[in-house]
Symmetry: C2
Subunit: 228 residues, 2 copies
Amino acid sequence: MNSERHVRHFEEELEQLKARLLEMGGLAEDRVRSALRALVERDLGLVEKVLMGDTAINQLHIEVDDRCFKLLALHQPMAVDLRAIVSAVKINTDLERVGDLAVNIAEAVRRYLQHPPVKELIDIPRMAELAQDMLRDALDAFVRRDTTLAQTVLDRDDELDTLKTQVFRELLDHMLRDPGTIEPSLDLILISRHLERIGDHATNIAEDVIFMVSARDVRHHQEQEAEG
Amino acid sequence: MNSERHVRHFEEELEQLKARLLEMGGLAEDRVRSALRALVERDLGLVEKVLMGDTAINQLHIEVDDRCFKLLALHQPMAVDLRAIVSAVKINTDLERVGDLAVNIAEAVRRYLQHPPVKELIDIPRMAELAQDMLRDALDAFVRRDTTLAQTVLDRDDELDTLKTQVFRELLDHMLRDPGTIEPSLDLILISRHLERIGDHATNIAEDVIFMVSARDVRHHQEQEAEG
């Protein structure tokens, strides 16, 4: 294989890798969306569908790791290409966890649906929208090497955190006023925590994108500035 | 640099990398242990110490990532060495998260200590012991490339899960019987979830070790067998 063909082959493989990560992201997002729709529409059948297994995501997880290893071993990439592949390894882990979180949400929804509704659900669906948007944008930022888009993902994390705190306070209030709502309220709190973690994974991906493109590590900067 | 010196240099760098990961693991474990001691001994000063910042872990996090990139770029390792370095990237992420979880635990402890004790704490300290043992053994398994030890980590995850469920049921009972304990009980439930996640990170590391040594992916095997 001559050098030019070698480079072209690498580029093609990298595109395939990105396509697989987007596919995984889409699947993970679908599962989170289904779990949330099951919650809002009180649809136990849909819950079971989410719980039935995330085989497709898990297979992609293994495949992506495998592709990353082959790219590292066969092409020995440098600089931004090397960072792209190591980022892909990390993003792969993040997406697999998002798939797991969809299962955790579905488990909480299944328990929640055994009780009458605690309250009208407003903030939790908003959290879900926000977390899913962050995840989608983080992946788009990876594929397009777009640090501006990645930065907007980081900026939205505080909003998710505020919603989580709001949900917690409101449900705590419900529990204190009406102890009969303790069990289902607990499950809503857990669901909001799972959604927050999906936002965390989107944030991880966005940080990887910024590192990949600019070789700048944004992960612990703020705190270092604050402490320095 | 001739080839033999190149190899020796790589081996030395790899040892340094392992030493840094062990150091990070030790720091993360210390922080979790402090947060738990603060809970059991109701020591607010110790809580604040944990909350004061995980600068040391975060700096190691950046350093380890940097070392991994340099090793990949300069030495272009193959086979088990390549897998070791990619595993180090992943383990680095896991350990940084454990440091974050120590902060999350400390935050819950701070809230918890604003109330009288809900109950004698037995299962939560047990969960903490178990999670920390798993983490320590997973890292030892990585350094010694010991898949047998890694397997024992995987085997202990169910035990942690059982304890978590037990803690949840017991605290739910407390809340239902005495709604005055709702707030502190909630924090104990959150602490037990954080400890469970530390066990998850130990499990991730153990799976990486098995993959590194044997190039065998144990992550989604059981479910595939179950489904197939």
